[in-house]
């Protein structure tokens, strides 16, 4: 349908090729032997909390480190712009003529952020910076617990909905001459609330996270967020990403269970992989949960092309 995977899959692995059988131990022992841990999650949460704390401290103590908020900021005097926010503004401005007044700082900030996240893998922003992602990760844990206890049912939707919302919010912005998305954007709302003080709008965040916990897992991040969708598009050809090696995989699917976007890990299922090696697609947030979860180290960070040369 999307012309992504027209190759025929490789034949399913023979039993003796499954890593733990090869080593002559049970799956449980093999898993315990390699140990999964939370290495990348710890690093990632440190970065996420660190960056957001830097925003807060910069304002609190008037440091010129990382000023502004996630809608637009200045790192050591160097501007960085939120892509979707700017995109909305650019569309309206191009129509009304305000575009000719935009500063060079804006242009630099807008381009820098695109180049940076292109190199870093697009949706890296989501799991490494976004404060709502952090909140939603905890919501997801609670959601999974409730599903396990059979208190609630799981509801999933089509992941391409994000592009409907992406286009929809841009059209809305143009029609209403207003940055509509910024009024409901949990990234900006949380960022501003943390830096400049909370407000009633946090009720919207509460409603959102409640919906995610009791109804649909990671609803906003998976199906709505146009910022994430923008980064998905940017990350299509990113050099930095997650790679998968078929030889080390035991098809236990532990990685899919922790993944925000499990459709990107389609090749871990038995008999689905078309190559010995796969790169995870651009919806991947490079969060590293699958890398932590994999008992056979079949998944790992990579700079595409680079490891092949080495």
């Amino acid at each position: 349908m999307f012309g992504k995977n027209n190759k025929t899959p490789l034949p399913a692995k023979k039993k003796e090729d499954i890593p733990y059988i090869k080593e002559g131990i049970s799956f449980k022992d093999w898993k315990a032997k390699n140990g999964s841990g939370h290495k990348w999650r710890t690093i990632r949460w440190s970065v996420l909390i660190g960056i957001n704390l830097l925003f807060i401290l910069s304002f609190m103590f008037d440091l010129s480190l990382l000023e502004g908020s996630l809608s637009g900021s200045r790192l050591f005097g160097f501007y960085l712009m939120d892509p979707f926010n700017s995109l909305q503004m650019l569309i309206i401005s191009a129509y009304t003529g305000h575009i000719k007044f935009l500063t060079m700082n804006f242009v630099i900030g807008f381009l820098t952020i695109f180049i940076f996240y292109f190199l870093m893998g697009g949706r890296t922003f989501c799991s490494w910076i976004c404060p709502y992602h952090f909140l939603a990760e905890w919501g997801e844990k609670l959601h999974n617990y409730l599903v396990k206890k059979k208190k609630i049912k799981e509801h999933t939707y089509n992941i391409y909905l994000r592009y409907v919302f992406w286009a929809g919010f841009l059209i809305l912005a143009f029609v209403t001459q207003q940055l509509v998305f910024e009024d409901v954007n949990p990234i900006g709302i949380l960022s501003r609330a943390m830096i400049y003080g909370p407000g009633l709008i946090l009720l919207w965040i509460l409603a959102l996270i409640t919906f995610e916990i009791v109804y649909s897992k990671r609803f906003w991040c998976r199906y709505v967020c146009p910022v994430g969708a923008t980064w998905s598009l940017v990350g299509k050809a990113s050099p930095f990403g997650v790679k998968f090696e078929l030889d080390k995989c035991a098809h236990c699917l532990d990685c899919q269970k922790v993944c925000l976007v499990p459709h990107e890990l389609w090749f871990v299922e038995k008999g689905k992989a078309t190559d010995k090696r796969h790169d995870v697609g651009s919806d991947c947030t490079r969060c590293g949960l699958c890398i932590d979860a994999c008992p056979g180290n079949a998944l790992g960070y990579t700079i595409k092309g680079w490891d092949r040369i080495l």
Partner: protein, 271 residues
């Protein structure tokens, strides 16, 4: 392909898509309704915007709500609007009664820092250039050559955030009364740099004690001076404050007004 497990098939997409479009339409209708009911305040500009702000209808979409102007303001006069202000959520405004824009900054940093130019220098360009020309005519290009402060001062004096308006019914001067003491009490947190103190730093308002026979604190503290507000004869020798054309709407007069409710207010300019 196995992707169908994650609802990548067409029927699901169309169904969810219809819901998404519905949701977007609902949001659009909501925004449209809010715009309609707030049309009056959009035109009359409910908020006092920071210096250099462009017309309100551009401001509302051009401002990306980053808050850089809030961070850069040395006297922290700028605040961000909350959700109760509806569509203006996240945009900067100045509450002059709590902390006025006292122009004690070096270079109107809020305007400099704004990346989307909703606060911009365009409207000050001519005045700034003229000020430099005049400076050039009277100064030599030696090591002391620095037209920048003169240029900024000239620009500050044509800022038009709003216009001050007196309320004679409560103004002390109109009642022929004087004022003794600190105008806003000892717990007031606002700061102000008096134009006549020669002090470069803004000082807390509560530190300053007045003893006026006829209350003229607003006139004394105005950072713009004689072109903005003066004590004028209101007939039979009674001296009262009078707002002139030079008023920038900075709101220092509102901040220092000693009456319970300010006897002078700033009305935002209409765009």
């Amino acid at each position: 392909m196995g992707k169908n497990d994650y609802n990548l098939n067409r029927r699901q997409f169309l169904k969810s898509g219809a819901i998404a479009v519905g949701a977007l339409a609902a949001v659009g209708a909501g925004v449209g309704y809010l715009q309609k009911v707030t049309a009056e305040s959009r035109i009359n500009q409910k908020f006092l915007r920071p210096p250099g702000a462009i017309d309100e209808s551009t401001f509302i979409y051009g401002c990306i709500k980053c808050g850089l102007c809030v961070q850069i303001c040395p006297v922290q006069a700028i605040k961000l609007a909350g959700i109760k202000d509806g569509l203006a959520y996240g945009t900067p405004y100045i509450d002059v009664r709590e902390q006025a824009c006292d122009f004690s900054c070096d270079s109107m940093q809020c305007v400099e820092t704004c990346p989307t130019a909703v606060l911009n220098f365009v409207q000050f360009k001519d005045v700034g250039e003229k000020a430099i020309e005049e400076y050039d005519a009277t100064h030599k290009r030696d090591e002391n050559y620095n037209p920048f402060p003169v240029q900024i001062l000239a620009m500050k004096s044509i800022v038009k955030m709003g216009v001050a308006k007196l309320k004679p019914e409560s103004c002390l001067a109109f009642q022929g009364k004087g004022f003794k003491g600190s105008p806003r009490g000892s717990s007031f947190k606002g700061v102000n740099r008096s134009p006549y103190s020669g002090d470069l730093k803004a000082t807390p308002v509560h530190d300053k004690v007045y003893d006026e026979k006829i209350c003229d604190i607003c006139v004394k503290e105005c950072p713009i001076g004689d072109t903005a507000i003066v004590m004028a004869d209101a007939g039979s020798g009674k001296m009262v404050p009078k707002v002139l054309d030079g008023c920038t709407g900075c709101g220092v007069c509102v901040m220092v007004c000693p009456t319970e409710e300010p006897s002078i207010i700033v009305e935002p300019v209409k765009s």
